[in-house]
Symmetry: D3
Amino acid sequence: MNQPIKKQIEDFREGDYIRGMFAVRNKETPREYKNKPGKYFFLGVGDKTGEISLKYWGGPDEKTLIQLYNTLQVGDVIEVMGEVAMDKYDNVLVISMDEGMHPLRKCGEEEFKPEDYLPTSERNLEDMMEEMHALVGSVQDENLRELLESFFSDESFTKEFKESPAAMKHHHSYLGGLLEHTLNVVKMCDMISNNYPVLNRDLLITGALLHDVGKIGAYKAVTSIDMTDQGKFLGHITMGSAMVEEKLKGLPSFPEVLKMKLNHLILSHHGNVESGYQAPKGLKIPEASALFYADLFDAKVKEFLQEMEREKNLEDAWVYLRGVGNEVYMK
Amino acid sequence: MNQPIKKQIEDFREGDYIRGMFAVRNKETPREYKNKPGKYFFLGVGDKTGEISLKYWGGPDEKTLIQLYNTLQVGDVIEVMGEVAMDKYDNVLVISMDEGMHPLRKCGEEEFKPEDYLPTSERNLEDMMEEMHALVGSVQDENLRELLESFFSDESFTKEFKESPAAMKHHHSYLGGLLEHTLNVVKMCDMISNNYPVLNRDLLITGALLHDVGKIGAYKAVTSIDMTDQGKFLGHITMGSAMVEEKLKGLPSFPEVLKMKLNHLILSHHGNVESGYQAPKGLKIPEASALFYADLFDAKVKEFLQEMEREKNLEDAWVYLRGVGNEVYMK
Amino acid sequence: MNQPIKKQIEDFREGDYIRGMFAVRNKETPREYKNKPGKYFFLGVGDKTGEISLKYWGGPDEKTLIQLYNTLQVGDVIEVMGEVAMDKYDNVLVISMDEGMHPLRKCGEEEFKPEDYLPTSERNLEDMMEEMHALVGSVQDENLRELLESFFSDESFTKEFKESPAAMKHHHSYLGGLLEHTLNVVKMCDMISNNYPVLNRDLLITGALLHDVGKIGAYKAVTSIDMTDQGKFLGHITMGSAMVEEKLKGLPSFPEVLKMKLNHLILSHHGNVESGYQAPKGLKIPEASALFYADLFDAKVKEFLQEMEREKNLEDAWVYLRGVGNEVYMK
Amino acid sequence: MNQPIKKQIEDFREGDYIRGMFAVRNKETPREYKNKPGKYFFLGVGDKTGEISLKYWGGPDEKTLIQLYNTLQVGDVIEVMGEVAMDKYDNVLVISMDEGMHPLRKCGEEEFKPEDYLPTSERNLEDMMEEMHALVGSVQDENLRELLESFFSDESFTKEFKESPAAMKHHHSYLGGLLEHTLNVVKMCDMISNNYPVLNRDLLITGALLHDVGKIGAYKAVTSIDMTDQGKFLGHITMGSAMVEEKLKGLPSFPEVLKMKLNHLILSHHGNVESGYQAPKGLKIPEASALFYADLFDAKVKEFLQEMEREKNLEDAWVYLRGVGNEVYMK
Amino acid sequence: MNQPIKKQIEDFREGDYIRGMFAVRNKETPREYKNKPGKYFFLGVGDKTGEISLKYWGGPDEKTLIQLYNTLQVGDVIEVMGEVAMDKYDNVLVISMDEGMHPLRKCGEEEFKPEDYLPTSERNLEDMMEEMHALVGSVQDENLRELLESFFSDESFTKEFKESPAAMKHHHSYLGGLLEHTLNVVKMCDMISNNYPVLNRDLLITGALLHDVGKIGAYKAVTSIDMTDQGKFLGHITMGSAMVEEKLKGLPSFPEVLKMKLNHLILSHHGNVESGYQAPKGLKIPEASALFYADLFDAKVKEFLQEMEREKNLEDAWVYLRGVGNEVYMK
Amino acid sequence: MNQPIKKQIEDFREGDYIRGMFAVRNKETPREYKNKPGKYFFLGVGDKTGEISLKYWGGPDEKTLIQLYNTLQVGDVIEVMGEVAMDKYDNVLVISMDEGMHPLRKCGEEEFKPEDYLPTSERNLEDMMEEMHALVGSVQDENLRELLESFFSDESFTKEFKESPAAMKHHHSYLGGLLEHTLNVVKMCDMISNNYPVLNRDLLITGALLHDVGKIGAYKAVTSIDMTDQGKFLGHITMGSAMVEEKLKGLPSFPEVLKMKLNHLILSHHGNVESGYQAPKGLKIPEASALFYADLFDAKVKEFLQEMEREKNLEDAWVYLRGVGNEVYMK
């Protein structure tokens, strides 16, 4: 057999002998061989370009395999060496890997970068952060700007904000997605406050900048995007509201009504009860209406595009997209 | 004219000459006399037994009347002396009061007790508090009981909790309403956890005891029940969640998952999105389901009864009740 | 081959040689062997602890097998003797049984007890019946109590009532489920009538005791729970209403309005049209509201718990439960 | 003053001195004169051509008036003599009647025919009954025809069926409305069973003929259409289902499945839960679908036409009709 | 009496003797005097600053008044001279005008400009048209630009487009409203196509420019905004689609698929069926999604602001706004 | 091997050696043999009696097979010769065809008639067309009849109208379905206009005759029913409206209001927004209501029957039918 080669999953071909590090996306309980001692198991593994099934064939002593299996967690990165084969039944490629030839190895956190296993925004993160800082600087109201700076001058916050996804799958579900989505929403809000100067631009821009900060703690994206327990129990809206309230404790002269309006913008950004989303509070000020519809606009258009992207390799002119709810013209 | 008498509004009869202190429920802009100098205005005033219209006839110098009018706020208590008369057009009783005879006087806060101007629970508040404390004591889990005691051993909290209403009008909209409603819900939860022992009774009882604590700050009830600005901008669910989180900061050894579950009980007590209420979070644990349906059960039955009570003086056998959505049999 | 052993399905292990009686849950048309004369067929069989697939291999004369197959009905109990084997494709255990070795035999009704093939309430049926009778006795109104006794002193009714399930799958879908659910609802109604004494307790308790009696005829549960044709065409609400009307014919002095209110409680116990259930009549009296929400409360909490129970062997912390409509925390 | 004249309400003119018998549609509590002893009250009265307000001025001894007032019930017919006057405030005609001139008299049931006080179908009732009998005769299935004859050969049933309204206001809300609506629905069902011969015509025609028989007891129409208590508590669907079941007891050889299908047609004629009507049972056979949509078709078109008729004296080209939910073109 | 003065309605004061030309907004049937021969009638009249009631008192020969009344149509402009008086019952100002003093006169179309009777956009129409033309010029695709120019180089179209309102009342319901709304939507679409370059900007901008052209024929705004019969029967979406199809007939080389996509953008701009609007076609391409949400965003924010503007003279901090569906904070 | 035989798909038996022409319903990408050079592919093929899978085994030179595969389109008709075999895994019949034995051949359009590959109405098309023409002739209004004749005297229109399906799958989804459905709806409208003579029969009959003409261009049915791009982008309602408007251009004296009403009938035949269909315009005239409910009636009953037909070979008494939304009784 030849030397193994390094490739990304999207480049795998039948017969390749490959070696590489991949993230564990899911795992299946080990099964026994029908005709000899020992066990085998299947894993789903991925990198940022795709996913593939790994078939791992254990040796005669099943204890080794079980021990290995039990140490593996979804999100781990493992070193794999094996052959890319065509699965006869499903007609898909798999990696076939033999314990006796080259045992599977779990990698340490220092060996890889999570961003190698997750899709990332196609836009430049630094450029977007710069735009974001300029918009922070454009806020005239001193209280609001001081609050914004308490977030955006905090490097640890900024780092998380820059890398967080905006969703698990519906829209902007990739590293940098939160930043990209927030930036789009803020700019829409900026434009509408030009169109309707009666809107409180400073309040609206601040609310738009902070509306999804709760997502930083609601999602975890090490090698795959998942929701945290906190995200599932409490939700990003309540979490974001609490983050802002916490920062406001450090700004004792912040006006009471402004405080309530700003928190209201976060709590109401899923609209009225009829919106069909988890909506803690209905729209009570026009800035809340502007933020809700700007958010909806960006999220819905992006979701439509992502759904199309996901099906781009189909050749059909018309494809039913579940998230859109329609058969869509793909050409 | 005879000496004025003191009566509650429900006992007023045409021709009575009355004197008493009543709360201002609403006010109407002063108007000019058509045929002589000066102005008059109308107020809505009430006590805990009902509401009546006050017609206040100013003297020839309108400045006195305007000055008086501008000092009056909804919620103020005023001293009134005048005749109970039949309004010709609307065929209802009013108080007719003449500035020249006995000027209207705004009372100081020390002159009255708010509970004299608001309906109160028909059940004994102290008895209910005692039942409540017994239920607090029945919680076995030390963390949860410690949290509960941080609320219910705090006298200022207990006082507010005891007197707060549970709503502006739909159900338990009277002093003590929060206590009465909470007690009913807790007892329902206690019963269901007996029926289904797999439920975590301590968690459920604690969630039920605290589910509406945010209403303490969301409503104000001095002489009439109104929602605070905070209640309108943020809502009692988010406010209650924040109150619990605040207390939990003082309990550092409180287990993380228990903390999230408890907060989740508060955030999800309006059910899933389809419930039609402002629902920040859907039901993720069976205790959340139990709390939501127990709350719904007590609130809906009480609302039905209150709607009937409100129309009890109609003689019709069948009356349409908006809150119920049906024509209801009243006998 | 060893002697066959008797085991419940949850205890089967690969290689067991078993003998036992199981209920037919579903059946599949016989197929021909590819390489020899004769046919084979598959059945789903079960006992109260689980379900398994039975592969029945016929001999060269296919008429015997066809004849046997045609006599089998879902719900029958059959005697089985064969080996527990691992199905290669689905990786599940099956019973493999050979006509030539030990022909399958359909058992007579006298050979088994249906309760051995269906799950049963975990609560003691006799204890619950005793509680039920005590609640019947607590009704003060003579007309209502006489009506209740016409049901609950009738042994054949009582027997059916005690053993009926309350649903096919959503909640209390097991023998004794109707009794357990009814008891829970009655007790909730008892508690709410203590909280709101203006409710007519006797009417409410009677309505709660009888609200689901139509389910006795709407479900059949011999060895599996199914809906009868009558249940599908007419529904348990209309059937229950007719049962009560029938009994009332024997009570000529029963007051007319009380009769209508009681029948209304049965007809309206799925709430108003907006409830999303088959709702013949909206809520017209407060006792109807109490019964609807008590029923909803017990059914929804139980459904949540049953759905969790069904997935208890999954190790995931979060599992999507269709009946709840959410991803649920399982720990 | 001249001799009084007899006129129908639609022909009243200001200044007419009229005498006639009218039905009481509603009544208002007596009020006191402001400037003299005694009381007066207002009644709404009507005949089949319209409604008018009656102002009844009592004499100095108010007891006579109160006694009279207490004997009057909505639905009574009274003899009235007085002047038709223009009401200054509302700019509408009223009857002004003076106790001293000609006291109001309550008429005995033998003095009037209810059909003189209610609108009646514009189609000939006898002709429609004949068509109905012909359709009954067209049913081939002996069981179904025997059942139909047990209804339609019963003269007291036929009389009630012929005169009953089909609704309080939405559609066919007049004497003969049930007959007219039923006939339309049956003929639609006849046509659709010609179009789709796979439909069981006999079953469908029978179901259509009987689908609304419960309305006979659900409405009372003596001099105005009202719902009975039974109609409000139980509804015409359950009542009709019970009527059919009662008749079926006299037909012991009626096939069981046919019985269930027929009862199902009645129980399901408001469609599936999503229909937005009180729907005890969803559509389980194609005949149920046919009956539901035929019923909907006739009722909806008639409702549209009745709403237009009600507003026909408006000159506007476009009028918003609540029952239709749209602004409608009236020309 | 003094010389009459000219004022706009918002400046009227009790006692003013005014002369002016006002548009007829609605009219009420003439009534007879109670105590003398002759008739009077009421009109609602308005200018761009408000509305007021006109009470017109006829002379003894009622024929003159009837003749005049019959010539008046809603939308006419009439010359009025009379006194501004306080209506005793409603406490509002009215114009009181006496036929004998100064007969009401219907003005010819050459005497007034409709824009004097209707509110107009606060933004400069010419500036907005210039921005619009620049956006037309930014379209690169020759077919689309040629189509756009066939509209926007047509002076009569441009004039109508510039002056049309965008709605009867919900949003942009004033002269220039269509232009202002369209411009906002186009700019939003421009921004989103920068954010997501995969969108076909030329198609999206063209669709946005033309999405509401049907409103030109669907509304008429001479002196008040009303919907045309065509608008009511066909709707602006179908009308706009037909206008574009008509223009496309003059462009034979326009690609077929582009033609369908463009027409689709117009037909789908009310979103999918679930949107709750009259939606001829669901969203089939991502540009349709972008247009729908951009349109919704601008319309909803504007509606919120217009509703607040309408209630701006209320002093309450919180006002329920029907169009928003919430109590809104007005400060 | 014997001579091949000709059979329709519903008559195929295992072991048949068949030859015939079938329509391509779908195709799957060619796969490589595991153990020898060359490829094979699967097609779905059908005639008017059913569908079957075709397994086509290529020879050693894969280019021939690829070239053939690329020329095949869904909707093509191909000549097939091969053996009917039992697929071992799915237990279904397939056609097994070997390139070496008898290569697959794509047929020219002159070789087959599309109606041989599609189900056709069971009713006689000519008889239905005659009925249709008689109904056209029954329209009294000259303008409407002239319009109808401009359609129905046009042979190319008539041919398309006669052969078009009325849907892809829900109802009347076969050749002649449009004609059959239209005829049913017209006759229902005829009957309702007899029942309610106030309806404009001529307008209603004309609207009913034309309501679905847009389906001629919205569907294409050569050998299978599919929606055209135009149908997907624009919809049959807008397309039908445009067809009628086009014809009306040739009838300059057609009254304007009648024109709008007729177009409105087409645009509103899916009812008000709440109907849940793509509904460009709500119901504005009673004829629109009649047409909508007649259309719904025929479509829904037919859909119920088609769903039952599709499952007729199941032996179960009760089958869940998705289009009906219920478990349905099949006997």
